[in-house]
């Protein structure tokens, strides 16, 4: 668990929606091939923060950002940043499973096709390998051409993860990926995260503190747009330094 390379280096990050300041002087390092959990009560800015890492906030009009978000030592908010290239490297899994209303095969190959891969052979290989990576291959290999909408919620979410993996990202951002799933599907995804962390850097927003405790190596506690405390998960959950962190973790608010 000893820290390796820093993947994201965030300093003094302020984010405004119009007049409302959603993030205040956020600073955090995110380490490569680790799972970093972002916890905190609703509206604390953790999802907003997650979306600054692949510039998905760009889509919301009236958003203004100050400060620095370095990815592999390059500020992603520089004018000459290739946003498409960034999003290719930094994939995202959403709260509600959102497969396209297309076949399973077309869902997986959507990204690769967008990025110029045309050969059927390669697309087939990508489909098989990513579906195997998320443990879905045996369940769906006979119905790759059936609509993804026919899968269960848990399967859909694993498909969405596979769809991300298909563009060969380095980082996976996950915005409460299990909050719409039942406990069995949730534990499958959690086990999957442990596997994926061997290859990818993962940042996960979660409401579920047990989940943060189970899966992550590092945890940051957000409150009203600020990071109150960041550290090794085991330390945050056993001996938090800040009183507010302790109160939140012990369930006194949130």
């Amino acid at each position: 668990m000893n820290n390796t390379k820093t993947k994201f280096e965030i300093k003094d990050l302020d984010l405004y929606y119009g007049d409302f300041q959603a993030l205040k002087k956020v600073g955090i390092d995110i380490y490569e091939r680790e799972i970093t959990a972002l916890i905190g009560p609703s509206g604390c800015g953790k999802s907003t923060f997650l979306r600054t890492l692949n510039r998905m906030n760009d889509l919301i009009p009236g958003t203004r950002i100050e400060g620095q978000v370095k990815f592999d030592n390059k500020d992603i908010y520089d004018k000459d940043t290739d946003v498409i290239g960034l999003r290719k490297k930094v994939g995202m899994v959403f709260q509600k499973p959102n497969p396209f209303p297309k076949s399973i095969y077309d869902n997986i190959t959507f990204g690769p096709r967008i990025h110029g891969i045309r050969e059927k052979n390669r697309l087939d290989k990508i489909t098989e390998s990513t579906l195997k990576e998320v443990g879905l291959w045996n369940e769906v290999k006979d119905r790759l051409n059936k609509s993804a909408m026919g899968l269960s919620g848990g399967q859909q979410q694993r498909l969405c993860i596979a769809r991300c993996l298909a563009v060969e990202p380095e980082v996976l951002l996950m915005d409460e990926p299990t909050s719409a799933l039942d406990p069995v599907a949730t534990s499958r995804i959690e086990a999957l995260l442990q596997d994926l962390a061997k290859k990818y850097t993962i940042v996960i927003v979660t409401h579920n503190m047990q989940q943060a405790g189970r899966v992550s190596g590092y945890t940051s506690f957000f409150l009203t747009g600020e990071i109150i405390e960041t550290g090794l998960t085991e330390k945050i959950f056993s001996v938090p330094e800040n009183k507010k962190t302790e109160e939140y973790i012990s369930g006194r608010f949130g």
């Binding site: 498409i84 290719k88 959403f94 209303p101 959507f110 990204g111």
Partner: protein
């Protein structure tokens, strides 16, 4: 159940029956008036006959079918890209404020009486076509262009609604995979909205086939097989409207026969539109 409620229920039932009865009566009337003429020439002879000269007792409506199909096809050729493009602009590109202005302008198009379209075509479009392409100017092009404008409201409003109802999660997923806006619209949003877009096209097509007054004023009403888009044509609806006032009984029956053909076409189109809606469901499902 109280007496008042019973009366209320009966009144509702009556109004429902009235509308169904109206459809039934019209259907029976058209078929009983038109079938004799079709029987006389035979269904195949009636539909595939190329000679429409009522005064000589020749009732082949193929030139009229060709005329209707030609103006409708041209209208769709212009109207589909313009209409779907406009719908994408309203639903995906522009802000809410601009979209509202555009939408009310387009809905206004639907409220203009068709004779006004025809008149506009007659005084503006027909002379322009005459100057550019030669000939009389009364032509398939004139009819197609005017019809394209007339079916825009149908295509734009239904398509735009169906594009707007595509869940934003699909767009986010696409963008987060590194797709740009164009790719997201072309490969995710439009496919997800396809049932609504197809239905809008079929309903627009129905409108184009059924339109009478506007095309009557500008297509020239010559019941001959067209050979070029600058040729004048007669349409199914236009012919009924033009010839009914002076038709002999036999001729009148033939015009009702045309009515049957139109009726069948429209029923098929509406059925297809409903089937598409049902088969593919709304956006996203």
């Amino acid at each position: 159940m109280s007496a008042k409620e019973k009366i209320f229920e009966k009144l509702i039932l009556i109004s429902a029956v009235v509308s169904v009865a109206a459809v039934a009566l019209i259907t029976v009337f058209i078929f009983s008036s038109g079938m004799p003429a079709i029987k006389e020439t035979g269904v195949a002879g009636f539909i595939t006959g190329t000679d429409w000269s009522p005064t000589n007792g020749q009732f082949g409506i193929l030139p009229l079918i060709a005329g209707t199909l030609a103006v409708t096809a041209l209208a769709l050729l212009i109207g589909i890209p313009a209409g779907v493009g406009c719908a994408v602009f309203l639903a995906e590109i522009t802000g809410e404020k601009t979209a509202r202005i555009f939408r009310s302008a387009i809905e206004l198009l639907a409220g203009i009486p068709s004779v006004v379209y025809g008149f506009f075509g007659l005084v503006i479009l027909v002379p322009v076509i005459r100057n550019v392409f030669g000939g009389s100017g009364f032509s398939i092009i004139a009819g197609g262009i005017i019809l394209a404008v007339m079916i825009l409201p149908t295509i734009v409003s239904i398509s735009a609604n169906s594009i707007s109802s595509v869940p934003s999660e699909f767009r986010e997923a696409s963008l987060s995979l590194g797709a740009d806006r164009r790719e997201t619209i072309m490969k995710v949003v439009l496919p997800a909205a396809k049932s609504g877009i197809f239905s809008s096209i079929i309903l627009g097509m129905g409108r184009a086939i059924g339109e009478t007054m506007a095309v009557l004023l500008i297509t020239g009403n010559v019941a001959k097989m067209p050979e070029a888009v600058t040729d004048p044509v007669a349409t199914l609806t236009g012919t009924i409207a033009m010839e009914m006032p002076y038709a002999t009984p036999q001729h009148q029956q033939a015009l009702f026969g045309i009515g049957i053909i139109l009726f069948v076409i429209i029923v098929l189109l509406n059925g297809t539109a409903q089937l598409i809606m049902k088969r593919f469901g709304g956006a996203g499902s």
